[in-house]
């Protein structure tokens, strides 16, 4: 569905700072793709480019990103904006910074819908939204709340619900649970998987937490210093990491239940 071909991305024009350096990858239909890497590895920049958000100085220096959504001719990422909240939607990390604090949730939700979905009676749309939220175990009363009246976890669940309400072919979620507690995080991750399996669409999840990826991703993309260093099915990568960085990443995880540093385990594994 998404074809990223030898893409170099960065910021600024005169002093170009490279964030992604010659990355290639494909994202298919009906899968959960995890993008792992630490801060500065370029994972968020790449997501923004796929989403076609070239505000704040992001520039595509070379390479191509093409999207082929069902029933639509292939488009370049520069035109992706036209498909926002129809074919593609985005769940950002900081829910407080994207929701308008002065507007009740239902108003900004309906205002944010694409034109064809906004047509017709507002009350009918609202009823439809309520049913949809109830289907995701969310109390419809959240629609009448201001963002600050909801907890961080609830706001994030609302964002996930908004992103999936339009039934997009692709949902990009950039660190959607990073600031949240584990119990809430688990709920949101289960919600994401459930939505993806129900819609049969594609979820791309960016996270620096390998545990999160192990739990939900079908396939993993590992980024390091602006490059894609390894891709493959999640279980395969965890069982047999090929790139040195991936090995280090997996080796540095503290494990609950096995009270030993895995650094020694790594040393033992390499002859």
């Amino acid at each position: 569905m998404i074809e990223v071909d030898n893409v170099t991305l960065g910021y600024g024009s005169r002093n170009f700072i490279t964030a992604v350096d010659g990355a290639s990858m494909t994202i298919g239909r009906n899968e959960i793709v995890g993008v792992a890497g630490e801060s500065g590895s370029g994972k968020s920049t790449l997501m923004r480019a796929i989403y076609g958000d070239f505000s704040t100085g992001l520039r595509l220096r070379s390479g191509r990103i093409t999207a082929t959504f069902p029933d639509r001719a292939p488009i370049d990422c520069s035109e992706m904006r036209k498909t926002w909240w129809q074919d593609i939607s985005y769940v950002p990390q900081g829910s407080m910074s994207v929701l308008n604090p002065l507007m009740k949730v239902h108003k900004q939700l309906i205002d944010g819908l694409p034109k064809h979905k906004r047509k017709g009676d507002r009350r009918a749309i609202r009823r439809d939204l309520e049913t949809f939220l109830a289907g995701l175990d969310l109390d419809p009363s959240v629609l009448d709340a201001y963002p600050h009246q909801l907890s961080g976890g609830m706001r994030q669940r609302v964002l996930v619900a908004i992103a999936s309400y339009v039934g997009p072919h692709l949902i990009l979620a950039d660190e959607p649970t990073t600031a949240l507690d584990v119990v809430v995080q688990k709920r949101i991750l289960l919600m994401l998987v459930e939505i993806q399996r129900r819609l049969g669409n594609t979820l791309v999840l960016v996270s620096h937490d390998l545990g999160v990826h192990y739990q939900i991703a079908d396939r993993l993309i590992i980024m390091f210093k602006g490059e894609v260093v390894e891709t493959g099915p999640t279980d395969e990568i965890f069982a047999n990491p090929k790139h040195e960085y991936t090995q280090r990443l997996i080796g540095s995880l503290p494990r609950l239940g096995t009270r030993k540093s895995t650094v020694t385990a790594l040393r033992r594994a390499t002859p």
Binding site: K186, L190, G200, G211, S252, L253, R255, L256, R259
Partner: protein, 283 residues
């Protein structure tokens, strides 16, 4: 006489008022009747809780940034709060107890070279006198975290990575050779692959320098790995404490079990995920 406990908290409570204007409103206990002891011998004691559990309020009371509503904290046998004449004086308190906070980028100013803070800490806490002696102390502390004066000198915060900067805040805390370090979520801003290196520095400092830690976190994995004792905090109360193996491998409380079940572990997938995925096979 036996050595006094590093820390003794008895019936520690802190109320905050919630809503209701000037006179109305209800009070709720952010920290509710907490009793907690850190023995004389060096150890790492973790306080694990979710946001809103009161763990940061507890840390702030330990650091004398918040006054308890009731209850008492004693550091090496002497009261931390109360009348100026009774409690530990500021200078010895700051020499004995040092903080490490979550975000090192907020702990240092963006407009001053980072090394200035370390030198100022050494001077203000009267660790050393004269530029040479101050630099020697700063260098000693930086070497404990794998850095050195030469590597830090002249640089501003943006020239360091998050991991390096957090190591520098650890070094800053080490300058007065404290008995206790209170670390509030010290690794939650640091990338996963570097977390362990910082956690291992804590371990080494405890063993080599004899410094005790109160490690406040929501991350069960590092708490499990690092701690001698773990206390689980929920709604202002410590509901369970003991060795990591006792508390986390075999929780007595349903809440602790729920926390453990929600940790996204590697090589142990949640049954709910398997069920959801089994229902439909990806193309």
């Amino acid at each position: 006489m036996t050595e006094p406990n590093v820390l003794e908290m008895t019936g520690l409570t802190r109320l905050f008022r919630k809503g209701g204007g000037l006179f109305g409103g209800k009070s709720f206990a952010a920290v509710d009747d907490v009793t907690f002891t850190l023995p004389a011998e060096p150890c790492v004691s973790s306080i694990v809780g979710e946001s809103g559990s009161g763990k940061t309020t507890l840390a702030r009371m330990l650091l004398r940034l918040v006054t308890p509503t009731s209850g008492e904290i004693r550091l090496l046998g002497r009261p931390v709060h109360g009348q100026k004449t009774e409690r530990i004086d500021d200078m010895s308190f700051r020499r004995q107890v040092q903080p490490i906070f979550q975000n090192p980028f907020e702990a240092f100013s963006a407009y001053l070279p980072v090394i200035d803070y370390l030198r100022a800490t050494a001077r203000n806490l009267e660790v050393a006198e004269g530029a040479r002696a101050v630099d020697a102390e700063v260098d000693r502390a930086l070497r404990m975290v794998g850095l050195s004066l030469a590597r830090v000198e002249g640089k501003f915060i943006r020239q360091f990575s998050g991991g390096e900067l957090q190591r520098i805040s650890v070094a800053r805390a080490l300058i007065p050779r404290p008995r206790l370090i209170v670390a509030d979520e010290p690794v939650s801003m640091v990338d996963a692959s570097l977390r362990m290196s910082i956690v291992n520095i804590f371990k080494r400092i405890k063993d080599e320098e004899g410094i005790s830690f109160v490690y406040i976190t929501h991350d069960l994995s590092t708490a499990y790995y690092l701690s001698d004792r773990v206390s689980i905090m929920n709604k202002g109360r410590i509901i369970e404490s003991g060795t990591p193996a006792d508390v986390l491998d075999d929780p007595a409380e349903a809440y602790t079990q729920e926390l453990m079940n929600a940790v996204p572990r590697v090589n142990d997938r949640w049954p709910e995920i398997d069920r959801l995925k089994a229902a439909s096979v990806p193309a």
